[in-house]
């Protein structure tokens, strides 16, 4: 008995070591740094000082946190709005077509955030951007730069997250029992009505997990807001980078990181709590 219990845990050792070494220990270090006390030479030492969290509690940072949450929620919604109909129609195509598109979308994931950010910068620029096409068609008179702007940040982040949404929605939508749709139709519901009263509610768990994933993913984006946005479009993650790399203020960066973690954990908790009730 003892042996078998032991051998059961042996399999857990590699993953435990990895999680411990790369997730738990660094997080503890961040926590310790965030409450560290400053030293006379400008560095910091282990201690317990909440001044960095107090600094977060100024309107500037609270506003940034709310902005970050709002932006990420907006991206999650937009990303799902684009990905859901696409994925739904994709599942109605023959398997070969589905495979082709899924491979194509998976390939999209290999593009890094950096690459995407700079590509959009060119795409939205005055000299080489889409504005020139509008001029060519005579829609506008003179080309202009569409970046940096909030729209540019949103467009690039949606572009970045749509493949994730598609891949997260695909299993649920392809497993959706087609007879549910037919049953709804025989009960007098039009195709559109069926979409809203059956297809969406039945796939709700996938929509929610997709939304949460996109939200968290966007919360961690640092390049796109910097490259395509003005400082007022910077998210908490950008500010953390800023504090850590350019201001060498590790304790404050750590405190912001802890806040960011709490923020995303709260959102995930709220979403799962309120979606779990009905599903």
């Amino acid at each position: 008995m003892q042996k078998s219990a032991l051998s059961r845990y042996i399999g857990l050792i590699p993953s435990s070591v990895m999680i411990g070494a790369f997730f738990v220990i660094p997080f503890v270090l961040i926590l310790l740094t965030s409450v560290s006390t400053p030293t006379d030479d400008g560095g910091y030492a282990t201690g317990f000082d909440l001044q960095h969290f107090e600094r977060f509690l100024t309107w500037f940072y609270i506003e940034r946190a709310l902005f970050s949450a709002g932006l990420c929620a907006l991206i999650a919604v937009l990303s799902l709005l684009i990905a859901y109909p696409f994925t739904y129609f994709l599942t109605t195509f023959p398997p070969r077509t589905q495979t082709f598109w899924l491979i194509y979308i998976l390939a999209q994931l290999s593009l890094s955030e950096v690459l995407i950010a700079f590509s959009w910068q060119i795409l939205l620029s005055r000299t080489a951007g889409v504005a020139n096409i509008l001029v060519w068609f005579g829609v506008i008179e003179k080309s202009f730069a569409m970046t940096p702007s909030a729209g540019a940040v949103v467009a690039a982040l949606v572009y970045l997250t749509v493949p994730f949404s598609v891949l997260l929605l695909f299993p649920a939508l392809s497993r959706l029992d087609k007879s549910l749709i037919e049953a709804s139709r025989t009960l007098g519901a039009s195709p559109l009505r069926t979409f809203f009263t059956v297809i969406i509610p039945v796939t709700r768990p996938a929509i929610i997990s997709g939304g949460v994933t996109v939200f968290v993913l966007t919360l961690g984006a640092i390049i796109v807001p910097q490259v395509l946005g003005k400082p007022e479009h910077w998210t908490l993650s950008v500010l953390i980078t800023d504090q850590a790399i350019f201001n060498f203020n590790m304790p404050f960066a750590s405190a912001l990181a802890v806040v960011l973690l709490v923020l995303s954990a709260t959102v995930i908790w709220l979403v799962t709590k309120f979606s779990g009730k009905k599903a």
Binding site: L180, E182, A183, T186, L187, G188, S190, V198
Partner: protein, 352 residues
């Protein structure tokens, strides 16, 4: 009154013909079973009545109304799916009143109707249950109630018993038939189970290879199958190769048998099959002489299950089954050379 009619209906999926030139006509209030092996086109035909598939050619009518081309949701039909297709995100009551909610009925009307329908299918008080908490039999009843919520003109069921175990199947067949008769609703059931069709149907449509092979009451089909496929599909049948030897007689293994008038359009000398049903075939002890209308054979198996006794007889390489009641027991054992009597009235002559 003429009810459901299917006129020259053909359905092709690409190059495959699923249903080929089907013509059927039924009266309002009848229970119809489409019976056939899988892939015979029976489900496709049902789906065309529902509007889930459109015929490539032909017309489907109900009474004086042409249904062809009418979208599914505008046809007044109720359908029970093979998997029941209950909505997992709605509870039992909400599933049943779904159609009413779509039509904009008030909450209280929906709840009243759901309660009434649950009483009808003998599941009172289950409206707040989740679908995942129901047993297979309960799911089927809920699916039936849901399909009947708007009093449809036509009630369609696609293999409704296939998800149930054998005992429950029999109970539900009888219950469904009673319910259908009570409501007087034109009903079409798709099944591959002949017992199910025999139990429930006013009219059976036997299908095979995308075509209708025979239409008739269960007894007509059982007594006078049109060919060996139908004979084999409905009940158990004994088929012996024979040759027409006169207007009402055949030769089987050298024995002459009177077959009554059931000779169809065959001429003398034609090769035919002599079909009999096991319960109409009698086995006589080897010592019996001068058994009229009989062939000889060797007993290969005796299965006594109390109420009936089955005797398997090998007649020159062809198996004949006789199902007897104990009072007709000829006291034979395996290996005996017996006389198998096939009374003229029990014989049908079919094409080879």
């Amino acid at each position: 009154m003429p009810g459901l009619s299917i006129e020259n209906v053909t359905k092709k999926f690409g190059t495959v013909t699923a249903v080929k030139d089907v013509n059927l006509q039924f009266n309002t209030g009848e229970m119809i079973c489409f019976l056939g092996p899988s892939g015979c086109g029976k489900t496709t035909l049902l789906r065309m009545i529902a509007g889930l598939d459109e015929p490539t050619q032909g017309t489907i009518r109900f009474e004086d109304q042409d249904l062809t081309g009418v979208p599914v949701h505008q046809r007044n039909i109720g359908m029970v799916f093979q998997s029941f297709a209950l909505f997992p995100h709605l509870n039992v009551g909400e599933n049943i009143s779904y159609a009413m909610r779509i039509r904009g009925h008030s909450r209280s009307e929906c709840e009243d109707r759901a309660r009434q329908l649950l009483d009808m299918v003998h599941l009172p008080g289950l409206e707040d249950r989740k679908i995942s908490q129901l047993s297979g039999g309960q799911r089927q009843r809920v699916a039936i109630a849901r399909a009947l919520a708007l009093n449809p003109q036509v009630f369609l069921l696609d293999e409704p018993m296939s998800a149930l175990d054998a005992n429950l199947r029999e109970v539900m067949q009888i219950e469904l038939r009673k319910l259908q008769q009570e409501l007087g609703i034109t009903t079409v059931v798709v099944t591959h189970d002949q017992t199910e069709a025999m139990t429930m149907a006013d009219q059976i449509v036997v299908m095979g290879k995308a075509q209708v092979l025979q239409t008739g009451t269960p007894m007509e089909i059982y007594k006078t199958p049109v060919d060996k496929f139908v004979a084999g599909f409905i009940g158990t049948s004994n088929l012996l190769p024979a040759k027409m030897s006169g207007p009402d007689s055949v030769h089987v293994n050298g024995a002459a048998l009177n077959v009554g008038g059931n000779t169809g359009h065959f001429a003398q000398g034609d090769d035919v099959l002599l079909m009999t049903r096991p319960e109409e075939v009698f086995v006589h002890h080897p010592s019996d002489v001068d058994v009229a209308n009989s062939v000889t054979g060797t007993v290969t198996f005796v299965r006594d299950i109390g109420a009936t006794i089955e005797i398997l007889v090998d007649c020159a390489g062809h198996e004949v089954i006789s199902v007897l009641t104990p009072k007709d027991w000829p006291n034979v054992k395996v290996g005996d050379q017996v006389h198998v009597e096939m009374p003229a009235a029990a014989c049908s002559v079919l094409a080879v």
